[in-house]
C-alpha cells in the first residue's frame, strides 16, 4: 500500500494537537465537488475526535479538469503567508459553487488580508513551486484522484464517507 512521501513536516498546513494519535492527510483540489463533500466530513471528524486527530491539507489541483483549481490553491497559500490558510481553505470550500478569480479576491477582502501582499503572493513563483511540490509529492505517494487520504502515513483506500467508523476501529 502506498505511503505518504514525504511524511508530514514543518512545511505542512497542520490543524490539531501535535501529539494526536490519528494523523489524517488529505490531497485535495479546491474545485473538486468530492473534495467539498469530504471537507464537511473532515469537519465532523474534527468535532468528534477533537484532540485525538490532527489534519493536514496538501494541494492536488487538477488544472486541466478544473479551471480555477490552481488559482484557488495559490489563494490558500497566499493567505497562509498572512497566517490565514485554514480560513481561506474553509471559505473556498464553503463557496465552491461560486468559485472564480473574483471570488478569491473577495474572500481575501472579507478576511481583511493585506490585499496588495495577497496579490503579489498569488503571482509569486515561490508559491507556485510550493503547490507543484505538493502535487508531485502526491503523485509519488500514490494519489490517484481527489480527494485521497492518508491515515498515519498509509493511503486510505476506502470510501471517505465512512472514515469516521474506520477511525473508531
Amino acid at each position: 500500500m502506498p505511503n505518504l512521501n514525504p511524511p508530514v513536516n514543518a512545511l505542512d498546513h497542520i490543524l490539531g494537537a501535535p501529539n494526536a494519535t490519528i494523523e489524517l492527510v488529505e490531497y485535495g483540489d479546491f474545485q473538486c465537488p468530492y473534495c467539498r463533500e469530504a471537507f464537511y466530513i473532515v469537519k465532523q471528524l474534527q468535532e468528534r475526535f477533537a484532540d485525538r486527530l490532527r489534519f493536514v491539507f496538501r494541494n492536488f489541483p487538477l488544472q486541466e479538469a478544473h479551471e480555477f483549481a490552481m488559482d484557488a490553491a495559490l489563494a490558500a497559500e497566499a493567505a497562509a503567508r498572512q497566517d490565514r490558510f485554514w480560513d481561506m481553505h474553509d471559505a473556498i470550500y464553503n463557496r465552491q459553487p461560486e468559485l472564480n478569480e473574483a471570488l478569491l479576491l473577495r474572500l481575501a477582502a472579507d478576511m481583511e488580508l493585506d490585499l496588495r501582499q495577497f496579490a503579489d503572493d498569488m503571482d509569486s513563483p515561490k508559491l507556485l513551486s510550493r503547490v507543484e511540490a505538493d502535487f508531485e509529492s502526491g503523485v509519488r505517494s500514490g494519489v490517484n484522484g481527489t480527494p485521497t487520504f492518508y491515515l498515519n502515513g498509509k493511503r486510505y483506500n476506502g470510501d471517505y464517507r465512512v472514515l469516521s467508523s474506520f477511525l473508531e476501529e
Binding site: 486541466e64 479538469a65 494519489v143
Partner: protein, 150 residues
Amino acid sequence: MLQKGDIAPDFTLSSTPEKTVTLSELKGKNVILAFYPADWSPVCSDQMALYNEMLKYFEKYNAVLLGISVDGAWCHAAFAKARQLHFDLLADFEPKGAVSQLYGVYENGVSQRALFVIDSQGVIQWSYLSPIGQNPGADGILAALENIKN
C-alpha cells in the same frame, strides 16, 4: 502479461479518425502504455484525467504517454475533447482487443487496467496489472522512469 525484459510488440492503432500511431516510430523516447477498460469513468478519480495533469512530469523523463482501450476512435475523440486530454488515446477496436492480447492484458471483452513502461530501445522495463476497479495512480510509472534514467 508481458514483463520486464520482454521486447514490446510493435503496433499501429488509430488515435483519431484521421491519425494513426506506430509504436516503433517512437523509438528514442520512453513510452508509457496505459491500457484501461473504457472511456467515460467518473471524473475526479479518473486515471486518464490524472495522467493528463502529469504530462509535464513525464516529459522530464523523455516519456510519451499513450492510453489504449477498445473504444473506437470517434468515442476517444469525444472523450478526449470533453476531458481536455492532451495525449493520444488509441483505439484497439478492429480487430477488437488485438493489441491488448499481444500484451496479455485482454479479458472479458475489454483491456485490463495495465501499465507498461518501455525504454527508448523498445524493451519493457516495468509492467503492472491493477485491479480493474482501482486507479493505479502514477507512482509506479515515475519510479520506473527514474530507474531507466539512472
